[in-house]
């Protein structure tokens, strides 16, 4: 399998998952899309191993790492500002507090995950893969 074929399969799978999730919200059935997501993720994982071309190399990983770090930093700042604004306006709409809390906890989880993974990767032998 070539990398181009894999990208097409991945794109089709993503579109299919999006359609199924949209329908699941309408039909209020959340089990099927979750099962489908797991199955498709496993299928894509298997297909990726069969790709003979190089999908990503050290340059992609380096750029991806820097991009991810900057994204986390920007997202965290935006989330904190939005959270504070929402909390300050919670008297006008009670849902603001729920959204603010969700933002706060998701940001904390993101930063916690980043710290754990960074700590783990810095302790293990560094390799390009």
């Amino acid at each position: 399998m070539t990398s181009k074929q894999y990208k097409i399969v991945k794109l089709v799978a993503t579109i299919f998952i999006a359609i199924v999730f949209a329908q699941a919200i309408v039909l209020k059935n959340y089990l099927i899309p979750i099962i489908l997501l797991i199955i498709i993720a496993l299928v894509l994982l298997v297909l990726r191993r069969k790709v003979k071309d190089i999908i990503a190399d050290e340059r992609d990983y380096a750029i991806g790492g820097k991009s991810a770090l900057l994204t986390i930093q920007i997202y965290s700042w935006i989330a904190v500002v939005v959270m504070v604004v929402l909390y300050s306006l919670r008297d006008s709409n009670p849902f603001y507090e729920i959204v603010g809390a969700t933002l706060a906890y998701s940001t904390c989880l993101l930063m916690l995950l980043y710290s754990i993974i960074f700590h783990f990767r810095s302790k293990t032998k560094f390799s390009e893969k």
Partner: protein, 64 residues
Amino acid sequence: MQNRIKEFRNKLNITQEELAQKSKVRRETIVFLEQNKYNPSLLLANNVAKALNTTIEKLFIFDK
């Protein structure tokens, strides 16, 4: 850091795609290397040098 990858590649008459496959990277990485827009790791530099039948010292010019 400058390099002579394009010069050595043309001497051996191989394409960027062939060099990329021998070096186990994508063609885009070879393009960026030749344009001096990317500094490779030691491993990649060694792989490229081997693929071009030369050494790192001859292939890469370190700025003083």
